[in-house]
Structures are given as structure tokens and as C-alpha cells.
């Protein structure tokens, strides 16, 4: 029987109906303390510490604080120290603050080669969908489920439906995977993928390197999708080869991985087709990632919207964002620029942004920062001299972590501040109470930093 990739992976992991085995459980400091408490209360051990890996990322300051005990914010310090203590007690490897392997959980998994095709991967974080870029089934879970996986290495899970989004053509010059996924969410809506495991396919996806594929799968959750997936190919195999977590018998593993792509003629519950060549650089204007337009567009007018619900949401979003309908997006001027997050903080993202800012200066009206996704990304970037490019242009160059993506650490927006951000969520208050977030690609963020307002990167040189 013909099977799609999701079906192959799901069936290989079904312990019994609705109970799936988890190959890798990633853990961080924010969503795990109550789960470890639960284990202690019930006197339960961690079933497979050897399939579990922890890091500290959400709370970690990016100012050079290199040990948990030195974190100034007391609650953050307690949370990171609690993670370290829990991992020690239960025998779980942890790359905390100070480790050269520390970083955003979704950046370090692929970087260490522990993210591999055909696996089931979970983490108490919605952006776990990132790992699906390797042809794995990866999704975010809540704290009760974190406890369940720690105790049983399994997860009770309703089988999602499957959706394939096929991208024909190729992305135009200056148009990035970030724009592709933002345009897709703009079309399907923030709930458009709810209930689905989504496979991204077609020539435009096959042409992408692994980091771009990760950006796309990362934002699946912003469309409501359970998991995003991309079929493994030789680029996937070569990414994993030689990394610390790569299988000992690599060739045998790679041969298995090559069997994972959806069979020709396999069925999906829903199919969507997108012309990648028609996608432009995108900028969000509102307070969810579905509120997105092409950079050449004007801020939409709620009065033109059909449904009263959409109209009301748009009016509220414009008021929060301090925007007027009809304003060209290229006239909107941020005060802050943030390049980082699990969506866009890999070395390739930093190289793209550095190319834009090289030899230029950040506009005087803007405070801009670059936050590498991991200590290893930071080290690589510094070996290439990217930190000097950014600093020379007037960017702050910081330590690895989630940083201003969610503002659980000292990096936040102030009330009313407008930010061009390479992160994944433009929700109200996400980057700081009253902060106004515009989601863009690294190139678009870098160009906005230089010009002091959004620009169409395609026209800009």
C-alpha cells in the first residue's frame, strides 16, 4: 500500500493504538520543572535518560552571563538552576549556560546531529516542528505530556490528518524561506493547518538548503499545524554526516532514511498548491503571523474586509500596532531590529544579514541586535569575522539564547517600540508589553536596520 512520509513514521512508532514511541525528548527550563516535580511526587524514574537532552535557552541572558548562578533575575536563575538540578538527579545530559553546546533547543538538536530523519521528536515548546525539516515527526507538547514522556518514553497522541503543500517554480532573488512560510500562513490563516501534519514538497522546497527548510517547518505551528515535514534527501544526509550524534553505522542509517519520502501516488487528506515564483518579500502588519502582506503593499483597510470578525480583529490590531490603513509598508519605521530566534539564528541566516549590512551603518534612529542561535553558531560566526561586520555597522553582538523572541530574559521591547524581527510571533506583548513586532526575513531585517524603514530587498543594493 502506498504511504506518505507521515504514515511511514507514525506506523513505525505505534506501540499500541494511539500510543507512539518517542526517539528524542528535548527539554528546556521553562516547561519542565513541574514535570520533574510530578515524577518525584509519584516516585517515578525517567524511563530513557539516554533519549533525552536538555538545554537552557528561554530565560538565559545574552549579555555574557555564563553560569546559572550569576543570572541577575532571581526567578530566571531559579528556573535554570532547577533544570540543572533536575537533570543531574535524573541522569539527563544538559547543556546549560556556560556549555559550548548551549543554545536554542531547536538550533542545537540539528547542530549536534541528534535530529535525524525518521525519528519522533518532542519538546515542551511549540517550535519543535523545526526538526521536521529532516523528515522526522516533531511537535510541541505541554508540561503534562513532558512528564508523560519522561516517565514512559511514549506519548498518547491522536493521529493527525495529513496535508501536502506543493510549491512549484522557484523563489525569486531576495525572496527567502521565511517569506515562503509567511506567505503560506497569510493564505491559509493562523488556524489553516490545525489538526494536520503538513508535508512541504515540490521543486521550490527541494532546492532549499537545510537551514531554510528548518525556517519553514519552524513556523508550521503559526499556521496551527501539528507538525511540519520535508522529505530527506542527500542534503539531509550530508548535514547529519560527521556530527556528534550521527549514527555509528551511518551508511545503513542513510539507506533507511532514503526510504522515508512519500511514495509516488501516496494520498493526503488535503493538498494545497502554491506558486513559489509569485511570492514576494513579506512583512506582518498585525498581531498574528497570518496578518501579513507583501512589502510593496499598503497596510490593509479593515473596512474592506468581508467578515465582521476579521474587521474587528484588524481594527484592534492596527490600533495596537499604531498603524494607519493605507500606509505603504515601506514607510513604516521600526526603532528596533532583532536578528535571532529558532526561526532565523543559524549561521546561514547571520551570513545573509551580514552581507546586507557589510560596510554600512545602522540608521541613527535604530537599536539593532544579533543573537546567534547557539554557542557554536556564535563561534563559527566569529571565526568568519561576522561579529566584526555587525559591530562595525552598529549592531549589538550577543550570546546565544531565545532573547527578544519572547522577552523572558532582559532583552525586551519597551511600550510602543516597533521592531523588525526575524522571530516567529507578532502577538501582542510577545517581545515586551506594548511592543510592536513586524516579522520579516533576516535580509529584510538587516536592510530595515540600515535604511531606518522597511525596504523591498529586491530593489535595494
Amino acid at each position: 500500500m502506498l504511504q506518505n512520509m507521515f504514515e511511514k513514521i507514525w506506523e513505525a512508532h505505534e506501540v499500541s493504538e494511539g500510543l507512539i514511541y518517542i526517539d528524542l525528548h528535548l527539554v528546556h527550563e521553562v516547561t519542565s520543572p513541574q514535570a520533574f516535580d510530578g515524577l518525584r511526587l509519584a516516585n517515578r524514574p525517567v524511563r530513557r535518560a539516554d533519549k533525552t537532552l536538555a538545554t537552557a535557552d528561554h530565560n538565559t541572558p545574552t549579555d555574557g552571563t555564563m553560569a546559572a548562578r550569576l543570572i541577575a533575575d532571581e526567578l530566571s536563575r531559579v528556573q535554570v538552576e532547577t533544570l540543572e538540578r533536575n537533570c543531574e538527579e535524573f541522569g539527563i545530559p544538559v547543556y546549560s549556560l556556560g556549555s559550548d553546546r548551549q543554545g536554542i533547543v531547536h538550533v542545537i538538536g540539528p547542530e549536534l546531529g541528534v535530529t535525524q530523519p525518521g525519528m519522533t521528536i518532542v519538546c515542551g515548546d511549540s517550535h519543535t516542528s523545526t526538526h521536521g525539516a529532516f523528515g522526522s515527526l516533531a511537535f510541541g507538547i505541554g508540561t503534562s505530556e513532558v512528564e508523560h514522556v519522561l516517565a514512559t518514553q511514549c506519548l498518547v497522541q491522536k493521529r493527525p490528518k495529513t496535508m501536502r503543500i506543493s510549491y512549484s517554480g522557484e523563489l525569486g532573488s531576495g525572496v527567502t524561506p521565511k517569506d515562503l512560510i509567511l506567505a503560506t500562513i497569510g493564505r491559509l490563516g493562523t488556524g489553516g493547518m490545525t489538526g494536520y501534519a503538513v508535508e512541504y514538497a515540490g521543486p521550490a522546497i527541494e532546492a532549499l538548503e537545510m537551514p531554510g527548510r528548518m525556517t519553514i517547518c519552524n513556523m508550521t505551528i503559526e499556521g496551527g499545524g501539528r507538525a511540519g515535514m520535508i522529505a530527506p534527501d542527500e542534503k539531509t544526509v550530508e548535514w547529519v554526516r560527521g556530527r556528534p550524534g550521527a549514527p555509528a553505522d551511518f551508511d545503513a542509517a542513510a539507506a533507511r532514511w532514503r526510504q522515508l519520502p512519500s511514495d509516488d501516488g501516496a494520498m493526503f487528506d488535503t493538498e494545497v498548491e502554491v506558486d513559489a515564483g509569485a511570492i514576494s518579500p513579506m512583512v506582518t502588519w498585525g498581531t498574528n503571523p497570518g496578518m501579513v502582506i507583501e512589502v510593496t503593499d499598503k497596510v490593509p483597510d479593515p473596512a474592506q474586509m468581508d467578515s465582521p470578525g476579521d474587521r474587528e480583529s484588524a481594527e484592534r490590531a492596527l490600533a495596537y500596532m499604531g498603524l494607519t490603513a493605507g500606509t505603504p509598508m515601506t514607510e513604516v519605521a521600526p526603532e528596533r531590529v532583532f536578528i535571532g530566534s529558532c526561526t532565523n539564528s543559524r549561521i546561514e541566516d547571520l551570513r545573509e544579514a551580514a552581507e546586507v549590512v557589510d560596510g554600512r551603518k545602522v540608521a541613527p534612529s535604530i537599536r539593532a541586535m544579533v543573537v546567534p542561535g547557539s554557542q557554536q553558531v556564535k563561534a563559527t560566526a566569529e571565526a568568519e569575522g561576522l561579529h566584526e561586520v555587525f559591530r562595525g555597522a552598529g549592531f549589538e553582538w550577543r550570546e546565544a539564547g531565545c532573547s527578544m523572541c519572547l522577552g523572558m530574559n532582559p532583552d525586551t521591547l519597551s511600550e510602543g517600540e516597533r521592531c523588525a524581527s526575524t522571530s516567529n510571533r507578532n502577538f501582542e506583548g510577545r517581545q515586551g508589553k506594548g511592543g510592536r513586532t513586524h516579522l520579516v526575513s533576516p535580509k529584510m531585517a538587516a536592510a530595515a536596520a540600515i535604511e531606518g524603514h522597511f525596504v523591498d530587498i529586491r530593489d535595494w543594493s
Binding site: R47, L112, I141, G142, I221, A246, E428, G429
Partner: protein
């Protein structure tokens, strides 16, 4: 988890779509390492800024795609701690829905028109076993997965149920099912 069978009482209304978990419980409250006490921070910014008023009632009716965004279980913890026992909406984000069922907070899906009628009625009675919401405007059916219903009605701990199935997990692992993926402790 406490068993839930019938939820009855007044209805609070939050007439918004796409309410994300960053609004339900802003990130600054995620630094706590406890599971309780999140209710006072529910919709912290919206309530403090006077954007919404929300009474503590057994039932909350709201708009589509409720609970989108972050997987933080702190969101259902806050809703439950505030006093809600059931949330009624036209649709929920997947992870949020699942998180609610794990703690015994009932997410019930009704179409938009029925949600509006329940909101207008101001009071309702939800019968989990019958899968019905009854209010002055009528009796509306919702669906809940049989295994979720069984757990909710009996207040069962998911982990205990899975551990009863421990032999199946042992068998899966010994048949080679645990061979995929890295050995994290050997990195």
C-alpha cells in the same frame, strides 16, 4: 486530576478570535516552577489595561482558534485556577486542546452560532458523558474522543494508564523499536 461529569453555571464571554497563549498568560509569569497560582495572572495585560472584564464562572465562551501559539500549559493552568471548568469555542489550537484535557479542563467545540447562543443565554449545563451543552436556547452536541472522555469522567492519570501498558513498551523496545536516534548520554 479531579473527575468531571457535569459542569453547570454562569457563562463568561470573551468575544475574540485567535486568542493566543501569550495573552492568556504572559511570559513573565512562566518563570515560576510551581503548577498552581497562575489564576491571578490570567489575561494579565488585557485585564490590567481595562480592555476586557472577565468574571470567574464555571464556563468560558470564546472565539475560534482559541489557545494558539506557545505550547505553555501555564495557559490552561491559569484558566482553571481562575475558576473555569470548561471552555466553549468554535475551534481550538491543537496543543492547547490537548493540554486542557490533561488537567481536566473541558474544551468543547460548538459552531459559531451555538457559541453565540450559549453566550447570550448566560448560563449553561455541560454533560460530558452525553456530550451536550444545554442552555435556554436549546441543547447542542459536541464531540469528545472516547479515551479522553473516559479519563475526564474518571479523573484518571494518563501516565498511570500508559504504565499499565508497560509490557507493550518493553516489547516495542526489545523488538528494535528503540534503536532509532542518538544515545544522548554518549555525546
Amino acid at each position: 486530576m479531579r473527575p468531571i461529569d457535569v459542569i453547570e453555571g454562569k457563562v463568561s464571554v470573551l468575544d475574540r478570535h485567535d486568542v493566543d497563549t501569550d495573552q492568556i498568560i504572559p511570559k513573565q509569569f512562566l518563570k515560576r516552577v510551581e503548577r498552581t497560582g497562575f489564576g491571578e495572572f490570567l489575561f494579565y495585560d488585557w485585564i490590567r489595561d481595562g480592555e476586557i472584564e472577565l468574571e470567574s464562572n464555571p464556563i468560558l465562551v470564546t472565539g475560534r482558534n482559541f489557545g494558539s501559539g506557545s505550547s505553555r500549559e501555564h495557559a490552561p493552568w491559569a484558566l482553571e485556577d481562575f475558576g473555569f471548568q470548561a471552555i466553549i469555542a468554535p475551534s481550538f489550537a491543537d496543543i492547547f486542546y490537548s493540554n486542557c484535557t490533561k488537567i481536566g479542563l473541558l474544551p468543547a467545540i460548538l459552531d459559531e452560532e451555538h457559541c453565540r447562543l450559549v453566550a447570550e443565554a448566560g448560563e449553561a449545563r455541560i454533560d460530558v458523558d452525553d456530550e451536550t451543552v444545554t442552555c435556554a436556547a436549546g441543547v447542542f452536541e459536541f464531540a469528545v474522543e472516547p479515551d479522553v472522555k473516559h479519563r475526564l469522567l474518571n479523573g484518571l492519570d494518563d501516565i498511570a494508564i500508559t504504565l499499565e501498558n508497560g509490557a507493550a513498551i518493553d516489547k516495542f523496545e526489545s523488538a528494535g523499536g528503540a534503536e532509532r536516534g542518538p544515545v544522548t548520554t554518549a555525546l
